[in-house]
Symmetry: C2
Subunit: 140 residues, 2 copies
């Protein structure tokens, strides 16, 4: 029972990347398809998982260049495991810092929304500025 083979068009829909992007990624060395006797690309279940994984990496903010480095390291074998691990750890730390910052911005945004609501409901004086309103949260 041979594994199912997907040609680029089908695979494209499966993973949510355009055929352009798949070929572009192949140029970049990120997703290397196998070829049939006619030189036509085909992808397997393994490739689905691999694309899934690199999309997770991209989703955490990893740039193509770093992704390329990761892939190169992977190709070098087990001797690069520590380096790859550290790379992922740094990516993770960066992403967590991004989230923290985003949440900080969101907090102000939320307060502005509350402030608008207060204005509309007249529970905040017409004259009170958002800046003054914000002050009351400063110690929290």
């Amino acid at each position: 029972m041979a594994e199912k083979r997907y040609r680029i068009g089908e695979f494209s829909k499966l993973v949510g990347l355009s055929t352009y992007t798949l070929r572009y990624y192949e140029d970049q060395g990120l997703i290397i398809a196998q070829r049939d006797g006619n030189g036509v690309r085909y992808y397997t279940e393994d490739d689905i998982r691999w694309v899934g994984f690199i999309l997770h990496l991209k989703g955490t903010g990893l740039r193509l260049n770093d992704l390329k480095r990761y892939v190169r390291l992977r190709a070098e074998g087990d001797s690069t495991i520590a380096e790859r691990r550290d790379m992922l750890q740094k990516t993770k730390d960066d992403a967590e810092a991004d989230i923290a910052e985003l949440q900080m911005h969101l907090k102000v945004l939320s307060r502005k929304i509350d402030w608008y609501d207060g204005k509309v409901a007249h529970t905040i004086a017409d004259s009170e500025s958002f800046h003054d309103y914000l002050q009351q949260f400063n110690d929290k």
Copy 2:
């Protein structure tokens, strides 16, 4: 006691935007500086607060175009408060969705790091693939 006035160079350092960017934002209608008798821009404490706020908005992922729309609405006065509130709410919802997605990607990333650690410590069989390793978390 007149309020302190900042010229663009000083203000730039204060808010962390280059003078190029400040002029660019002014072209875009986002931060309008006042001018002295010679046509030289100056900024006040109010402008510091305003820039702070728009950086919060940008920080949550609001695009320049939307930011411009927000500023236009603001200039129209209180009649646009509901629309502005809704805009911020949508921005907030979007940002929260982004965070949720980011966290989902991070979870996989974390597991990959754990998997690397397991490989190094030999608590995971050399032969076990990450995909198989991941399966055990599928019901959580």
